[in-house]
Symmetry: C2
Amino acid sequence: MGRNKMEKPNTDQRGHRTVNVRFDARGLVPAVVQDEDTGQVLMVAWMNEEALRLTQETGQAHFWSRSRQELWHKGATSGNFMNVRQIWVDCDADTLLLKVDPAGPACHTGERSCFYRRVA
Amino acid sequence: MGRNKMEKPNTDQRGHRTVNVRFDARGLVPAVVQDEDTGQVLMVAWMNEEALRLTQETGQAHFWSRSRQELWHKGATSGNFMNVRQIWVDCDADTLLLKVDPAGPACHTGERSCFYRRVA
Protein backbone atom coordinates (compact mmCIF):
# COMPACT_ATOMS: atom_id res chain seq x y z
CA MET A 1 0.00 0.00 0.00
CA GLY A 2 2.75 2.43 0.98
CA ARG A 3 4.71 1.57 -2.12
CA ASN A 4 1.64 1.93 -4.32
CA LYS A 5 0.97 5.30 -2.73
CA MET A 6 4.44 6.48 -3.65
CA GLU A 7 4.08 5.33 -7.22
CA LYS A 8 0.70 6.99 -7.62
CA PRO A 9 0.81 9.91 -5.21
CA ASN A 10 -2.47 11.34 -6.46
CA THR A 11 -4.58 8.21 -6.13
CA ASP A 12 -5.90 6.30 -3.16
CA GLN A 13 -5.62 2.55 -2.72
CA ARG A 14 -8.56 1.98 -5.07
CA GLY A 15 -6.94 4.05 -7.80
CA HIS A 16 -9.24 7.03 -7.31
CA ARG A 17 -7.75 10.49 -7.60
CA THR A 18 -7.48 12.67 -4.56
CA VAL A 19 -8.63 16.07 -5.74
CA ASN A 20 -9.45 19.18 -3.77
CA VAL A 21 -12.87 20.16 -5.05
CA ARG A 22 -13.10 23.89 -5.67
CA PHE A 23 -16.34 25.13 -4.15
CA ASP A 24 -17.49 28.55 -5.34
CA ALA A 25 -17.91 31.71 -3.26
CA ARG A 26 -21.18 30.29 -1.92
CA GLY A 27 -19.45 27.04 -1.00
CA LEU A 28 -21.19 25.14 -3.81
CA VAL A 29 -20.37 23.09 -6.89
CA PRO A 30 -22.79 21.90 -9.56
CA ALA A 31 -23.22 18.15 -9.78
CA VAL A 32 -24.40 16.50 -12.98
CA VAL A 33 -26.31 13.31 -12.26
CA GLN A 34 -26.16 10.63 -14.92
CA ASP A 35 -27.82 7.22 -15.02
CA GLU A 36 -24.91 4.80 -14.92
CA ASP A 37 -26.70 2.17 -16.99
CA THR A 38 -28.43 4.20 -19.69
CA GLY A 39 -26.15 7.25 -19.82
CA GLN A 40 -29.19 9.54 -19.55
CA VAL A 41 -28.48 12.86 -17.85
CA LEU A 42 -31.07 12.99 -15.08
CA MET A 43 -30.58 16.32 -13.34
CA VAL A 44 -28.14 18.96 -12.19
CA ALA A 45 -28.11 19.95 -8.55
CA TRP A 46 -25.70 21.68 -6.18
CA MET A 47 -23.49 20.28 -3.46
CA ASN A 48 -21.70 21.90 -0.59
CA GLU A 49 -18.88 20.18 1.29
CA GLU A 50 -21.26 18.48 3.70
CA ALA A 51 -23.52 17.17 0.92
CA LEU A 52 -20.49 15.69 -0.81
CA ARG A 53 -19.27 14.12 2.43
CA LEU A 54 -22.70 12.63 3.20
CA THR A 55 -22.97 11.33 -0.36
CA GLN A 56 -19.66 9.54 -0.01
CA GLU A 57 -20.46 8.23 3.47
CA THR A 58 -23.95 6.96 2.70
CA GLY A 59 -23.63 6.07 -0.98
CA GLN A 60 -26.81 8.07 -1.66
CA ALA A 61 -26.90 11.46 -3.32
CA HIS A 62 -27.19 14.47 -1.02
CA PHE A 63 -27.42 18.02 -2.34
CA TRP A 64 -27.73 21.57 -1.10
CA SER A 65 -31.13 23.05 -1.94
CA ARG A 66 -30.55 26.65 -2.96
CA SER A 67 -34.28 27.44 -2.81
CA ARG A 68 -34.82 25.93 0.62
CA GLN A 69 -31.30 26.69 1.85
CA GLU A 70 -30.95 23.28 3.44
CA LEU A 71 -29.33 19.91 2.97
CA TRP A 72 -31.39 17.68 0.74
CA HIS A 73 -31.20 13.91 0.88
CA LYS A 74 -32.57 13.10 -2.56
CA GLY A 75 -35.44 10.62 -2.18
CA ALA A 76 -35.99 11.26 1.54
CA THR A 77 -39.58 12.30 0.85
CA SER A 78 -40.27 10.63 -2.51
CA GLY A 79 -38.43 7.37 -1.91
CA ASN A 80 -36.56 7.96 -5.15
CA PHE A 81 -33.08 7.70 -3.69
CA MET A 82 -30.08 7.84 -5.97
CA ASN A 83 -27.45 5.24 -5.28
CA VAL A 84 -24.14 6.76 -6.27
CA ARG A 85 -21.80 4.38 -8.05
CA GLN A 86 -19.06 6.76 -9.16
CA ILE A 87 -18.04 10.38 -8.63
CA TRP A 88 -15.90 12.20 -11.20
CA VAL A 89 -14.48 15.71 -11.12
CA ASP A 90 -13.75 17.95 -14.07
CA CYS A 91 -10.42 19.43 -15.15
CA ASP A 92 -10.69 22.58 -13.06
CA ALA A 93 -12.26 20.70 -10.15
CA ASP A 94 -15.32 22.92 -9.88
CA THR A 95 -17.95 20.53 -11.24
CA LEU A 96 -18.86 16.97 -10.27
CA LEU A 97 -20.35 14.12 -12.28
CA LEU A 98 -22.26 11.48 -10.34
CA LYS A 99 -23.01 8.17 -12.01
CA VAL A 100 -26.01 6.74 -10.22
CA ASP A 101 -28.47 3.92 -10.01
CA PRO A 102 -31.75 5.79 -9.45
CA ALA A 103 -34.51 4.16 -7.41
CA GLY A 104 -37.14 6.07 -9.40
CA PRO A 105 -37.77 9.19 -11.45
CA ALA A 106 -35.24 11.97 -10.89
CA CYS A 107 -37.72 14.76 -11.51
CA HIS A 108 -40.38 16.02 -9.12
CA THR A 109 -42.76 15.99 -12.13
CA GLY A 110 -42.48 12.22 -12.30
CA GLU A 111 -40.35 12.34 -15.44
CA ARG A 112 -37.37 10.03 -15.44
CA SER A 113 -35.05 12.99 -16.21
CA CYS A 114 -35.50 16.67 -15.40
CA PHE A 115 -34.45 17.30 -19.01
CA TYR A 116 -37.74 16.23 -20.60
CA ARG A 117 -38.28 19.32 -22.76
CA ARG A 118 -36.40 19.69 -25.99
CA VAL A 119 -36.10 23.33 -27.04
CA ALA A 120 -33.94 23.04 -30.17
CA MET B 1 -49.48 24.51 -39.03
CA GLY B 2 -51.86 26.97 -37.40
CA ARG B 3 -54.05 24.15 -36.22
CA ASN B 4 -51.06 22.26 -34.90
CA LYS B 5 -49.97 25.37 -33.07
CA MET B 6 -53.33 25.62 -31.38
CA GLU B 7 -53.23 22.00 -30.33
CA LYS B 8 -49.70 22.30 -28.98
CA PRO B 9 -49.42 25.93 -27.95
CA ASN B 10 -46.07 25.41 -26.24
CA THR B 11 -44.25 23.85 -29.17
CA ASP B 12 -42.92 25.28 -32.40
CA GLN B 13 -43.55 23.76 -35.82
CA ARG B 14 -40.83 21.16 -35.24
CA GLY B 15 -42.42 20.06 -31.99
CA HIS B 16 -39.79 21.76 -29.82
CA ARG B 17 -40.93 23.45 -26.65
CA THR B 18 -40.80 27.18 -26.33
CA VAL B 19 -39.41 27.79 -22.86
CA ASN B 20 -38.18 30.96 -21.24
CA VAL B 21 -34.76 30.02 -19.94
CA ARG B 22 -34.19 31.39 -16.44
CA PHE B 23 -30.77 32.99 -16.35
CA ASP B 24 -29.34 33.59 -12.85
CA ALA B 25 -28.48 36.94 -11.27
CA ARG B 26 -25.29 37.04 -13.36
CA GLY B 27 -27.30 36.33 -16.52
CA LEU B 28 -25.93 32.79 -16.79
CA VAL B 29 -27.13 29.19 -16.89
CA PRO B 30 -24.99 26.07 -16.67
CA ALA B 31 -24.96 23.92 -19.78
CA VAL B 32 -24.14 20.22 -19.60
CA VAL B 33 -22.52 19.02 -22.82
CA GLN B 34 -23.09 15.39 -23.72
CA ASP B 35 -21.78 13.41 -26.68
CA GLU B 36 -24.91 12.54 -28.64
CA ASP B 37 -23.49 9.25 -29.90
CA THR B 38 -21.74 7.82 -26.86
CA GLY B 39 -23.70 9.50 -24.07
CA GLN B 40 -20.44 10.57 -22.43
CA VAL B 41 -20.72 13.80 -20.44
CA LEU B 42 -17.98 15.97 -21.91
CA MET B 43 -18.02 19.21 -19.94
CA VAL B 44 -20.12 21.78 -18.13
CA ALA B 45 -19.86 25.42 -19.16
CA TRP B 46 -21.94 28.55 -18.76
CA MET B 47 -24.13 30.38 -21.24
CA ASN B 48 -25.58 33.84 -21.25
CA GLU B 49 -28.44 34.85 -23.52
CA GLU B 50 -26.11 35.81 -26.37
CA ALA B 51 -24.15 32.54 -26.18
CA LEU B 52 -27.41 30.59 -26.38
CA ARG B 53 -28.59 32.69 -29.32
CA LEU B 54 -25.29 32.24 -31.19
CA THR B 55 -25.36 28.52 -30.48
CA GLN B 56 -28.82 28.23 -32.00
CA GLU B 57 -27.95 30.46 -34.96
CA THR B 58 -24.64 28.79 -35.85
CA GLY B 59 -25.26 25.22 -34.68
CA GLN B 60 -21.94 25.35 -32.82
CA ALA B 61 -21.59 25.65 -29.06
CA HIS B 62 -20.88 29.12 -27.67
CA PHE B 63 -20.37 29.78 -23.99
CA TRP B 64 -19.62 32.62 -21.62
CA SER B 65 -16.16 32.31 -20.13
CA ARG B 66 -16.42 33.35 -16.48
CA SER B 67 -12.63 33.49 -16.10
CA ARG B 68 -12.04 35.62 -19.20
CA GLN B 69 -15.39 37.39 -18.97
CA GLU B 70 -16.00 37.04 -22.68
CA LEU B 71 -17.98 35.09 -25.23
CA TRP B 72 -16.28 31.83 -26.10
CA HIS B 73 -16.85 30.04 -29.38
CA LYS B 74 -15.76 26.56 -28.37
CA GLY B 75 -13.14 25.35 -30.84
CA ALA B 76 -12.32 28.79 -32.26
CA THR B 77 -8.68 28.38 -31.23
CA SER B 78 -8.37 24.58 -30.95
CA GLY B 79 -10.48 23.61 -33.93
CA ASN B 80 -12.47 21.34 -31.63
CA PHE B 81 -15.86 22.80 -32.42
CA MET B 82 -18.96 21.24 -30.96
CA ASN B 83 -21.80 20.75 -33.37
CA VAL B 84 -24.98 21.01 -31.38
CA ARG B 85 -27.66 18.49 -32.36
CA GLN B 86 -30.20 19.05 -29.59
CA ILE B 87 -30.82 21.45 -26.72
CA TRP B 88 -32.89 20.39 -23.72
CA VAL B 89 -33.95 22.42 -20.68
CA ASP B 90 -34.62 21.11 -17.19
CA CYS B 91 -37.84 21.28 -15.19
CA ASP B 92 -37.15 24.64 -13.59
CA ALA B 93 -35.61 26.01 -16.79
CA ASP B 94 -32.33 27.06 -15.21
CA THR B 95 -30.04 24.42 -16.69
CA LEU B 96 -29.44 23.34 -20.28
CA LEU B 97 -28.36 20.02 -21.77
CA LEU B 98 -26.61 20.13 -25.14
CA LYS B 99 -26.30 16.94 -27.14
CA VAL B 100 -23.36 17.44 -29.46
CA ASP B 101 -21.16 15.92 -32.11
CA PRO B 102 -17.70 17.04 -30.99
CA ALA B 103 -15.00 17.65 -33.60
CA GLY B 104 -12.31 16.68 -31.11
CA PRO B 105 -11.49 16.47 -27.41
CA ALA B 106 -13.69 18.62 -25.19
CA CYS B 107 -10.99 19.26 -22.62
CA HIS B 108 -8.07 21.68 -22.93
CA THR B 109 -5.89 18.87 -21.52
CA GLY B 110 -6.56 16.81 -24.65
CA GLU B 111 -8.84 14.41 -22.78
CA ARG B 112 -12.03 13.53 -24.58
CA SER B 113 -14.07 14.61 -21.54
CA CYS B 114 -13.23 17.14 -18.84
CA PHE B 115 -14.40 14.49 -16.37
CA TYR B 116 -11.32 12.27 -16.67
CA ARG B 117 -10.61 11.93 -12.94
CA ARG B 118 -12.64 9.55 -10.84
CA VAL B 119 -12.62 10.57 -7.18
CA ALA B 120 -14.95 7.96 -5.66
